[in-house]
């Protein structure tokens, strides 16, 4: 808590015990979106969130249907038409809790230990998404109003990749009109070091299938006579990347926004420990595109990765077949301003022109698909978030990027034209998606305070 707390800050402080009780209650709902038998629990979580928004004083709350799990929408638009509108995003579904035997206490019977709340969803994302609701409640209870208009969008399918959200957000695009978006599903660097994630990679996933003979053939009777799809696949995949690590698909890097000297300086400023990184992955060495540091490659350079290979005999020992077909599953992770559709076209052209003699190639899209996400320099919501983080942590946030892809960020961008700012207070060590997930009480307090300050800053900035 800051010095000279305002009324809403004092209210939040006084309500901390009550807030913890509510978070425990929220976590007790096993809203596992991936498991069919949890469908009613995800819906119960939606209803719980909707009720909580109403109690907080949000005056227009709805549970909206998608083709799968419901969405909770709420708005408080009484700040006035001259005030900006802030959209806050989060999700109330959680990852499966299995393997249950690795939990110290049952995942849906949350427990307070050592200043932490243990339970599935504690940090991802129930603690984090409850914080802005509680901040808004504190302001409405103490001031009777919010400094800006606020909309809430909470989904119940983030943990299964938000398959229905693009369609849903498009259908309801008018509801989501706003000036700024903050996502309560996000991380800070460390308990004593804030961060702002300014870029995420896009993704395009596909499968390459090479077909040769009509069925597996005897490798003695036909080896050397006809092309081998497994060797052909190896040759084709190898043709897509140089030994040095450059992607050699024609035009792959065409649209990539190069890293500026400032970008590189910013990345180099952030502590990096190579041996720690190797220990984390268990890899023998780092490797990749020449001319870039490991972190630059991880955060800011596009990649192509083989996710799986399948062909011929895979059991024990050997079987002397010349396989009928060979398959590779791949994903490209994209950086701004690459476009997944264009990249897939380039891949298709590469596969066509490099398909070995005697084989027939097919390229099939698989599930993952997303545009890269890059917040423009000086983007207003990001700068406001930076101010708030600096005030709370006492130091400027790291400006980082992520190699992963979060589809809702680009979905919201496409529907509203607004770049979202990740403004969550989880930490990477809190066992997200793993047993003994927890949320620090300290982070919970900080997150509530941060959302209140954020709304105030937005109002001040906009009125300047």
């Amino acid at each position: 808590m800051l010095n000279n707390p305002s009324k809403w800050q004092a209210y939040l402080h006084g309500q901390q015990q009550q807030a913890i009780e509510e978070l425990l209650e929220f976590i007790r709902i096993p809203s596992v979106s991936a498991q069919a038998d949890s469908l009613p629990e995800v819906r119960r979580a939606a209803v719980w969130v909707a009720d909580r928004l109403r109690v907080a004083g949000v005056d227009s709350v709805e549970v909206l249907e998608t083709d799968a799990h419901p969405v909770v929408y709420g708005s408080w638009m009484n700040a006035g038409a001259d005030k900006p509108t802030v959209l806050i995003y989060g999700h109330f579904d959680v990852q499966p809790a299995e393997p249950l035997e690795l939990w110290t206490t049952p995942p849906f019977e949350p427990e307070l230990r050592d200043g932490r709340i243990y339970g599935r969803g504690a940090t991802d994302d129930k603690g984090n998404m409850l914080a802005p609701i509680l901040a808004v409640e504190a302001m409405l209870r103490t001031e009777g109003r919010l400094p800006v208009n606020v909309k809430f969008l909470f989904e119940g399918q983030e943990e299964i990749g938000s398959p229905d959200m693009p369609k849903f957000v498009q259908q309801h695009a008018d509801r989501f009109a706003c000036d700024m978006i903050f996502s309560a599903d996000g991380l800070q660097w460390a308990p004593d070091q804030p961060q702002l994630v300014e870029a995420l990679k896009g993704i395009v996933a596909f499968e390459i299938i090479l077909r040769g003979p009509v069925s597996d053939q005897h490798s003695g009777l036909h080896g050397g006579g006809i092309a081998n799809p497994a060797m052909g696949l190896a040759q084709l995949l190898a043709s897509m990347k140089s030994a040095e690590g450059l992607v050699t698909v024609e035009g792959f890097y065409e649209r990539v926004i190069p890293l500026s000297e400032d970008d590189r300086t910013e990345i180099a400023r952030i502590p990096y420990d190579e041996s720690g990184y190797l220990a984390e992955t268990g890899a023998r060495d780092t490797a990749g595109e020449p001319g870039y540091s490991t972190r630059e490659r991880l955060w800011a350079r596009p990649t192509i990765d083989v996710n799986g290979l399948t062909s011929g005999w895979q059991g024990d020992g050997g079987k002397t077949v010349l396989p009928a077909e060979a398959k590779a599953k791949l994903t490209c992770r994209l950086v701004a301003a690459q476009e997944p559709g264009e990249i897939l076209d380039k891949i298709r052209r590469h596969v066509e022109t490099h398909c070995p003699v005697g084989l027939v190639a097919e390229v099939k899209r698989t599930s993952s698909w997303g545009e890269p996400f890059l917040v423009p320099k000086g983007h207003e919501s990001t700068e406001i978030a930076a101010e708030v983080l600096e005030e709370i942590y006492g130091k400027a946030p790291y400006r980082t990027r992520l190699g992963g892809s979060i589809s809702v960020m680009t979905t919201l961008k496409q529907a509203t034209g607004v770049h979202a700012t990740m403004f969550g207070f989880a930490h990477a060590d809190e066992n997200l998606h793993a047993p003994d997930e927890f949320f620090r009480l300290e982070a919970f307090e900080r997150s509530k305070l941060a959302y209140g300050l954020l709304l105030e800053r937005v109002a001040i900035r906009q009125s300047r």
Copy 2:
């Protein structure tokens, strides 16, 4: 039957109906060496063969044990020490008969239809191996003696790759001392065209395993930071073969005996129908080492084939992993005078020097292992076989090679120093290893006659 049949030929002719009854009885024993519940049946077949040899007048017959299925050994050594000794090889085990529903009549209830005997093992190898026994019997019954000394070696594990035979043959090498070897497990080109198979490929099978991170990693969080074993495997495999089809492993072709102009002329003389070959395999096109015809590559050039690929996610759709490891199973088919051990060493060196940065490679031998087999030009037993085939078919045999590997041919060569001649009368269209296997009665008659003539010719040649 030839004009002016000798006594043994007349005897064989008179016994043809009896011989068919005996072959039917032999086929009724379901001696499937690959199936555990058929173990007693394989032994029953061994006893049947031993009894049949004794009835034929072979005077020293034994059922010998290996670590798996038994071997039947017999000899008739009364021709005199000045006469040559001929070893005749065959096998009494059969392939599994499944899928049973594709048989017109049950596989172990053989039936005569349209001049053919249908049943599992009819042609591979029961009909073919019974022929020399019946020929010897006819000679002993009519002449009271054989023109040469004869040894029989019949095994019960050929269809499972003869795993115990190298050890067995080494242990009993003294029994197998001989001047010539003929294998009754072999093919003729067509019912009206004989062939002599003069070369078989050797084989060395191995697995390459590339390891990267300690477990599958998130392809977004670590792609571009550490090496991907699946892509690394593709690059490594591609480095082993040029796009044109040349094996690029250093020294791979070092010991290969080049095809002479005569060899090439002989191969080119044999009818080849490219569209028929493509229809047989269902391949789109032929492909392989430049500078050689398809048949030269199939018969007389060494190959490397990927038999299987395994890595990462292989299920439906996509999974965004950077796999912990990737595996490829491979076989090289070798031609004379390549050596499997030396080739495996060269592969290991290639893998060591081409292993991508950040990955660790392992090369593991798998099951198949065999020396290439090449009969020297003018080899006596082959030339005698050629004379007999020309006499019976009325035309000279094609001199062919096979891309496959038959380990017993090199096992016998190593134990005795003698190159075996394949002298079998199966035809490729007789559904070997498939449903509705059959043996032509015409081929059965021809094979008995051929073995009798063969023994006579050996005696004549040797006495010149």
